[in-house]
């Protein structure tokens, strides 16, 4: 397994670690114990790849003994026409046995917009002083 295959997650994790170190230093912390991350199901990030890159990059940092907790957040859509707000509907393609998300409003059939589930953010940190 090479790092090149994980470039996308690698740069994300590198950002996460920079933010955590910055916050820890602001509070004179000696180590970071926990990083609580929220990853939208409709972001393009793979959870396994995030964890793999995390373990690689925390070495020799304030996060070296820390635990990465990831919450996988569901996506929501909003329909401007009928004001529907709810989970992103899934549709099945019987011919290929594929289940895929759709922006067709389940209530009125008009195009809807994604309002959540695309982001990746640090919800909180636990640090030790």
């Amino acid at each position: 397994m090479t790092l090149a295959a994980y470039m996308h997650e690698l740069s994300m994790v590198s950002n996460i670690i920079d933010i955590a170190i910055h916050e820890a230093k602001k509070r004179n912390a000696t180590s970071v114990i926990e990083v609580n991350l929220v990853v939208g199901k409709y972001s393009m990030l793979g959870l396994e790849q995030l964890c793999y890159c995390y373990d690689l990059l925390i070495k020799d940092t304030l996060l070296k003994t820390s635990k990465l907790n990831i919450k996988h957040e569901d996506g929501k859509i909003h329909c401007d026409k009928c004001k529907y707000k709810g989970p992103i509907p899934l549709k099945e393609e019987p011919e290929y046995h594929i289940i895929f998300p759709t922006l067709v409003c389940p209530k009125c059939g008009n195009p809807a917009e994604i309002i959540s589930g695309r982001d990746c953010y640090i919800k909180s940190l636990k640090v030790k002083t």
Partner: protein, 224 residues
């Protein structure tokens, strides 16, 4: 009795952050978008799979639009200037952005490229993203419109396998229609797949090699 709370040696703090990891990119994208608006420049982020015909589409569009528009093309690739050399032959400004190992362009790279450009001389910027149907969808560049190119030679499942990027696009181009029969791939089925994921997208069939369908792409992007 008074209770005394003393500072302990190993005190543990919870820090609430809610800090977005993608925010850095979104900030740059917003900055780029404002710059485009101030200079009255239309911008299109062209994403798509490797070998689907992104450069061919740009060449065909540039040929038709260069008399009417002041165009610059930004070509994103891991390495080489093959794509930018192809586009430069048509006599428009071209900047190659080599990402090294990154699988997508990001708003910061675009913002760097913009520093060296005479924006007041331009009214259209076409950005060719790195060939990839996954990560580019995540990183908005600040472009006004996003177009995804796929081709029939990639087989019949390309759309349903990569729903996320099609959710991001306002125009989808299905290229190499001249090879559809040989590939046993139906344009109408691919179009229906796009529409079932993103009913707002405009889907256009092209054969860039034969210069077919290009005017409809130009129309869908409001570049007439």
């Amino acid at each position: 009795m008074t209770k005394i709370v003393e500072h302990e040696e190993d005190e543990v703090f919870d820090i609430e952050l809610e800090e977005s990891i993608l925010k850095k990119n979104e900030d740059f994208a917003k900055k780029n978008s404002e710059l485009f608006k101030t200079n009255n420049i239309k911008t299109i982020d062209i994403m798509g799979s490797i070998g689907s015909g992104k450069t061919s589409l740009i060449e065909a569009m540039v040929k038709r639009l260069k008399e009417k528009h002041q165009i610059a093309v930004l070509n994103g690739d891991l390495t080489t200037t093959i794509d930018s050399d192809r586009v430069a032959k048509h006599g428009v400004d071209v900047i190659q952005i080599n990402t090294g190992k990154e699988c997508h362009l990001d708003a910061n790279l675009i913002s760097k490229a913009l520093e060296d450009m005479e924006l007041d001389q331009l009214d259209l910027i076409i950005i060719e993203n790195v060939g990839n149907l996954i990560c580019p969808g995540e990183f908005r560049l600040g472009a006004e419109q996003r177009l995804v190119v796929i081709s029939v030679t990639e087989g019949p499942y390309m759309v349903l396998k990569h729903p996320f990027i099609f959710m991001e696009a306002n125009v989808v181009v299905i290229n190499k229609l001249d090879l559809a029969e040989a590939m046993n791939v139906e344009f109408e089925k691919l179009k229906a797949d796009v529409m079932s994921i993103n009913p707002k997208a405009e889907v256009i069939g092209t054969s860039c090699r034969n210069d077919k369908g290009i005017i409809y792409v130009i129309g869908a992007l409001n570049l007439n």
